[in-house]
């Protein structure tokens, strides 16, 4: 019985890693610049990619809350939340800048969000959740 539980737990854990890996590769939108402006289409693509990232993060959190993965996931998620909680204000700014076609500020904030999501990825990896190769 104990062996079955361990196999199940490992399987779920590995599936979680695969989820995060797949999601991470979806978030490859490069950086913005004046030559590569943040249009409404690009904003929509970026936000769609971040939705896929958070689909994985929420699956991780749900698995943790259901006790399907080791209990230290609670602390790991809390540490990642330090970074994910910084994203909403940047998103609000980016949306306003894009809608007003303020490309200078939109570019800065777009790249800040991209860096922040990269930090989320590396912070999760540092806590044992493999993201990317």
């Amino acid at each position: 019985m104990r062996r079955i539980f361990l196999v199940l737990a490992l399987s779920l854990s590995l599936s979680g890693c695969a989820t995060i890996q797949a999601i991470e590769t979806a978030f490859q939108l490069g950086t913005a610049s004046i030559a590569n402006p943040v249009t409404k289409d690009r904003l929509n693509q970026m936000e769609s990619a971040i939705i896929l990232v958070f689909a994985g993060l929420n699956a991780w959190k749900q698995s943790c809350q259901q006790g399907l993965i080791p209990a230290d996931c609670r602390n790991q998620i809390a540490e990642v939340q330090v970074y994910t909680r910084q994203i909403p204000p940047y998103l609000s700014q980016l949306r306003a800048f894009v809608k007003n076609n303020d490309q200078v500020n939109a570019t800065v904030v777009f790249n800040n969000i991209t860096n922040l999501v990269g930090t989320v990825k590396s912070q999760a990896a540092a806590r044992g959740v493999t993201i990317g190769s």
């Binding site: 779920l12 599936s15 979680g16 695969a18 989820t19 797949a22 999601i23 590769t25 979806a26 490859q28 939108l29 409404k40 289409d41 690009r42 904003l43 929509n44 693509q45 936000e47 769609s48 990619a49 971040i50 939705i51 896929l52 958070f54 689909a55 994985g56 993060l57 929420n58 699956a59 959190k61 749900q62 698995s63 943790c64 809350q65 609670r74 998620i77 809390a78 939340q81 994910t84 909680r85 994203i87 909403p88 998103l91 949306r95």
Partner: protein, 70 residues
């Protein structure tokens, strides 16, 4: 509209959806994102309504993850 970037995102997103389904997680929001992306690419540009829907969905998902653990 960078159709190549959208297609790449859809392909990667389908991998995400299949993994979410495999681990028994809610995949409907991710599927909706991909459908909207595909329709946006087909129409040539995203509409304000589509963008608003994407933003509403994203805000909800961020809020869910950022909420304290129960």
């Amino acid at each position: 509209m960078d159709v190549g970037a959208v297609l790449a995102l859809i392909v990667k997103g389908l991998g995400v959806v299949s993994t979410l389904v495999a681990v028994g997680k809610e995949a409907a929001p991710a599927i909706k994102v991909l459908v909207d992306l595909a329709s946006g690419a087909q129409n040539g540009t995203v509409t304000d309504d589509q963008l608003a829907a994407t933003e509403k969905l994203l805000d909800g998902m961020i809020e869910d993850f950022n909420a304290p653990m129960v």
